[in-house]
Symmetry: C2
Subunit: 77 residues, 2 copies
């Protein structure tokens, strides 16, 4: 299912947790591609969880677990 | 590249041009999936042109040509 990220929190945590920098960079690349600067939430495609896991050398469960453990997933809809 | 459809015009033309009904139905399915009832424009993925061509027994060039000939494509961005 889709992934809804808390962009404000992700930007803040990525400054102190190096593991989250690639996630923040990926999210910012999508925002730039869309020109979507609402700045609060970013809804990503379900396939993006696979892509994020791949580029972070994790399984999808590990990636999702790390995002949840850091309070970055807001899923509603 | 993406496809931006004029939803208002598509809904109107689909009533008198049977060829356009499947296109209108596909667009409405996407609107429902997103709950995107802005009603004016619908931006579709570049892959959707392939899907629309397939389900309408046309090539991509024929599908795009038909949409353009009916004034249904608003492409800006
Ligand atoms: N509400 C909604 N609208 C959709 C959806 N899929 C496509 N669109 C609309 O269709 C446009 C073109 O999509 P694209 O050709 O796949 O081209 C996209 C795609 O290649 C990439 N992209 C944007 N957002 C995402 C994302 O969340 N994940 C991935 N993997 N790529 C994305 O950037 C391009 C431009 O994105 P946009 O400027 O946003 O422009 C998007 C957007 O207006 C969807 O699931 N929901
Ligand atoms: N900027 C932004 N906002 C987000 C995002 N994810 C969630 N939201 C916010 O949460 C609501 C649901 O977004 P959605 O699931 O993408 O569902 C959206 C989406 O599918 C579509 N939509 C709305 N505006 C656009 C747009 O400018 N382009 C495209 N392609 N789709 C849009 O209509 C649905 C309802 O939209 P809203 O009522 O406006 O309400 C949206 C919006 O306020 C995001 O990645 N970027
Ligand atoms: N601005 C923008 N936002 C994007 C893009 N791709 C994905 N998103 C955001 O990520 C959410 C989940 O996308 P999904 O898992 O592919 O799940 C999507 C997808 O399976 C389908 N869908 C929505 N729009 C399109 C479309 O234009 N073409 C196709 N083929 N499927 C779509 O409906 C599901 C729900 O769509 P949404 O409620 O809109 O919710 C979308 C939307 O908020 C994009 O290119 N641009
Ligand atoms: N997932 C998601 N993404 C969102 C949402 N709201 C905005 N976005 C993203 O932010 C970009 C700018 O949105 P905008 O300034 O509201 O301005 C938008 C909007 O006013 C309109 N628009 C174009 N296509 C659509 C569409 O399919 N649905 C809706 N509701 N508006 C669209 O044209 C402008 C450019 O649209 P896009 O190319 O799609 O580019 C959108 C889209 O990538 C949202 O609720 N959910």
């Amino acid at each position: 299912d889709r992934l809804i990220l808390d962009m404000r929190r992700l930007g803040r945590l990525a400054q102190s947790i190096p593991e989250l920098e690639p996630v923040n960079n990926y999210a910012l690349l999508i925002c730039a591609r869309r020109r979507d600067w609402n700045g609060e939430v970013l809804s990503l495609r379900s396939e993006d969880l696979s892509t994020l896991a791949l580029i972070n050398f994790k399984t999808e469960d590990q990636m999702q677990g790390e995002l949840e453990a850091n309070g970055l997933i807001l899923n509603f809809k």
